[in-house]
C-alpha cells in the first residue's frame, strides 16, 4: 500500500466518523428543539423532516402576508358541501346556538366554550391568502379569536408540544406545534369578509392557520386537545392527512 492510498484511507475514515457524529448530534438537537415532524418515518421522511425543520427555524416568528381590502377575491371557492353528519344538521337547524368547543388534554382548567363566548373575546381580523395544495387559492378577510387567547384561558401546561383539533366530520382532525398554535395569526375563525362564516367555508368555526396550506385550516371545529405526544392520536402520524398519504406539515 502506497503512502497516498494509506493517507486517503485514514482521511476517508476520519471524514466518515466525523460525518456520523455530526449526524447523530444534529438528530439529537433536532429532536430537542422540536424539528422532527410526526410523519418522519417511511420513504419520504427525510424530505419531510428537512422541510419542516428548515421552515420551522425560518418561520418561528414570521407573519403571514396580509393584503389590502381591494385584493379580497370576489369569488372564494368553498371546495365542499355542508357536512352530512346528523349532529351538524341538528346544530345548523338551531342556528349553531348550541355549538360548543371543548378544550382538554394538558391544560390546567379543561373547559367548553359556546360560540357566543368565543365571540365575546378580543377578536382579530386579517386579510390572508388561502392556498390549496392542488394549486388554487383565494384571498379573504377572516375574523376570530386567536387560538393563543383560548389556550391562555384554559392554562396550557409547560410540557405541551402540540394542539390537536377535531372537526365534527369524523375523518377530519389535525394538529399544529406550539409555534403555530401560539402564533398571533392562528385564529378560531367565525367571520369571513365581514359576514358570518359560511358553512361552505367552515362555519360556524374554522381554525385558520395562514402560514400553512388550506388543508391545515380544518372546518367545523368542536374540540381541541393539548398534548405532548401525537402517538396517541389515530395512527400516531399527527393528523388524518398522513393517514391519507398527505404530509402533516403543510408549509409548502
Amino acid at each position: 500500500m502506497s503512502d497516498v492510498s494509506r493517507r486517503k484511507l485514514i482521511a476517508t475514515g476520519l471524514a466518515a466518523t466525523a460525518g456520523a457524529s455530526v449526524l447523530a448530534v444534529t438528530a439529537r438537537l433536532a429532536r430537542r428543539y422540536g424539528l422532527i415532524p410526526p410523519d418522519h418515518g417511511g420513504l419520504f421522511g427525510l424530505g419531510e423532516t428537512l422541510t419542516y425543520a428548515a421552515q420551522r427555524i425560518l418561520t418561528r416568528h414570521s407573519m403571514a402576508r396580509e393584503f389590502s381590502r381591494s385584493q379580497i377575491s370576489k369569488a372564494p371557492f368553498p371546495n365542499c358541501e355542508a357536512p352530512k353528519e346528523e349532529a351538524f344538521q341538528r346544530l345548523q337547524a338551531g342556528g349553531f346556538a348550541d355549538w360548543r368547543l371543548a378544550v382538554d388534554g394538558m391544560v390546567a382548567r379543561p373547559a367548553s366554550f359556546s360560540l357566543a363566548e368565543l365571540k365575546s373575546y378580543p377578536s382579530r381580523s386579517q386579510i390572508t391568502h388561502l392556498a390549496c395544495e392542488e394549486g388554487w387559492s383565494f384571498i379573504a378577510e377572516w375574523t376570530g379569536v386567536p387560538l393563543s387567547h383560548v389556550l391562555d384561558l384554559v392554562g396550557v401546561l409547560p410540557q405541551a408540544r402540540y394542539v390537536v383539533y377535531f372537526s365534527i366530520q369524523r375523518d377530519w382532525w389535525d394538529s399544529v406545534d406550539m409555534a403555530d398554535a401560539l402564533h398571533p395569526q392562528t385564529l378560531l375563525t367565525y367571520k369571513m369578509n365581514g359576514g358570518e362564516l359560511p358553512v361552505g367555508h367552515g362555519g360556524p368555526l374554522r381554525l385558520r392557520v395562514p402560514r400553512q396550506l388550506g388543508y391545515k385550516s380544518v372546518k367545523y371545529i368542536t374540540r381541541l386537545t393539548v398534548t405532548d405526544d401525537l402517538k396517541r392520536f389515530g395512527q400516531g402520524l399527527g393528523s388524518a392527512s398522513p393517514e391519507g398519504g398527505y404530509a402533516w406539515y403543510a408549509g409548502i
Partner: protein, 298 residues
C-alpha cells in the same frame, strides 16, 4: 518527440511557450511526465484551447484521464434521478388543477390565464372530460419535495466544486474570443446542418453547448427553485418580496410551470444530441469517465 512541434521536454517541464496553458494545470507525476509525449492527457475542454492541429499529435494509447470527473458524473446522475422524480410528480400535482392564473389568487370560480386540455384528478375542476383521474397528490407532493431537497443540495455541491476545480472556468465559460454573434450563428448553422464536429472539437464543449449548460445551471434551475419556494405560504411569510416581485403566488405557479417546460425541452434536446454524438460512448463517458473507444489518431 523532437518531431512534435507542440509538445517538447525542457528539463522535465512542459514548454510554456508552445503548449496551451490548460495543459499546465495538469499535475504531473514523474511517471505521467515521462508518458506525456506519447500519451496525450486530455480532459474535457482541454482541446478547446489548442489549435486544431493538436489532433495530429502522435498518440498511440487511449487517454487515461477521465473525460468527466467523478464529481461531475455523480452529481449528473443524482440530478437526473431527481429531475425525473420532480417531472413525474409535478405532472401528478398539476393534474389536480390543470388551470393557471396570474396574480396572487385564482380558483375555478375565476377565469384562468389558460388551462391545459387534460382531465383532472379532482371532480371540482371543470375539464369537459366526463371522468376524474385517480388522486396521486399525496405521495407526489412528498416525493416532489424530497427530490427537490436532494437536487438542491447536489446542485450546491456541484456549483461550489466547479467554482474551485476550474471546471466552470475551463470547460463551461466560453473564452472571450469565442464569444461573438458570428461564432454563435456559425454554431447554430452547424447544428442545423447536423455537421459532425472534428475529433478535437468533440473533446470539448462547443460554444452553444457551453451557453446552454450555463443557462440551465445559472438561470433555469435557480428560477425553478425560486418559483417553487414562492408557492410556499411559510416561505412567503419570511420573504414576502420573493413572491410579490413575481406578481403573486399564482404567477409563481405559472412561471414554475413554464420553467419546467423549458427544462424538459433541454432534457429532450440533450438526449437527442447524445444520440447524434454516439449514445454508447457518451453514456460510457458519463458513467465510467472515459469514452472507451476513443483513440487519438496517429
Amino acid at each position: 518527440m523532437s518531431g512534435n512541434p507542440l509538445v517538447r521536454f525542457d528539463e522535465g517541464r512542459v514548454g510554456r511557450t508552445l503548449v496551451s496553458p490548460s495543459l499546465l494545470l495538469y499535475r504531473e507525476t514523474s511517471r505521467a511526465r515521462a508518458r506525456l509525449p506519447t500519451c496525450y492527457h486530455s480532459r474535457m475542454g482541454d482541446s478547446a484551447f489548442l489549435p486544431t492541429s493538436a489532433a495530429a499529435i502522435p498518440a498511440t494509447r487511449v487517454t487515461s484521464r477521465p473525460q468527466h470527473s467523478a464529481l461531475v458524473r455523480v452529481t449528473h446522475w443524482i440530478t437526473t434521478l431527481c429531475f425525473l422524480a420532480l417531472l413525474v410528480t409535478g405532472v401528478e400535482i398539476l393534474i389536480s388543477h390543470p388551470r393557471f392564473y396570474w396574480g396572487e389568487a385564482g380558483n375555478v370560480l375565476t377565469p384562468p390565464l389558460f388551462k391545459l386540455p387534460t382531465p383532472a384528478s379532482r371532480s371540482s375542476v371543470p375539464t369537459g372530460y366526463g371522468y376524474v383521474l385517480p388522486d396521486q397528490n399525496g405521495w407526489s407532493r412528498y416525493l416532489h419535495f424530497q427530490a427537490a431537497w436532494v437536487a438542491v443540495l447536489t446542485g450546491l455541491l456541484y456549483v461550489i466544486s466547479i467554482l474551485f476545480s476550474g471546471h466552470l472556468r475551463r470547460n463551461l465559460l466560453p473564452s472571450q474570443s469565442d464569444l461573438s454573434w458570428r461564432a454563435i450563428s456559425i454554431g447554430i448553422v452547424d447544428h442545423l446542418r447536423f455537421k459532425r464536429p472534428s475529433e478535437a472539437e468533440a473533446r470539448s464543449y462547443n460554444l452553444l453547448q457551453r451557453l446552454t449548460y450555463l443557462f440551465v445551471i445559472f438561470v433555469l434551475f435557480p428560477l425553478v427553485i425560486w418559483t417553487g419556494l414562492a408557492m410556499s405560504p411559510a416561505i412567503a411569510s419570511v420573504f414576502p418580496a420573493a413572491v410579490s416581485v413575481l406578481g403573486g403566488q399564482e404567477s409563481a405557479r405559472t412561471i414554475h410551470f413554464f420553467v419546467s417546460v423549458f427544462l424538459l425541452l433541454f432534457l429532450l434536446i440533450h438526449i437527442a444530441m447524445i444520440c447524434l454524438a454516439g449514445f454508447g460512448s457518451r453514456m460510457r463517458a458519463m458513467i465510467t469517465g472515459s469514452a472507451g473507444t476513443y483513440k487519438e489518431r496517429p
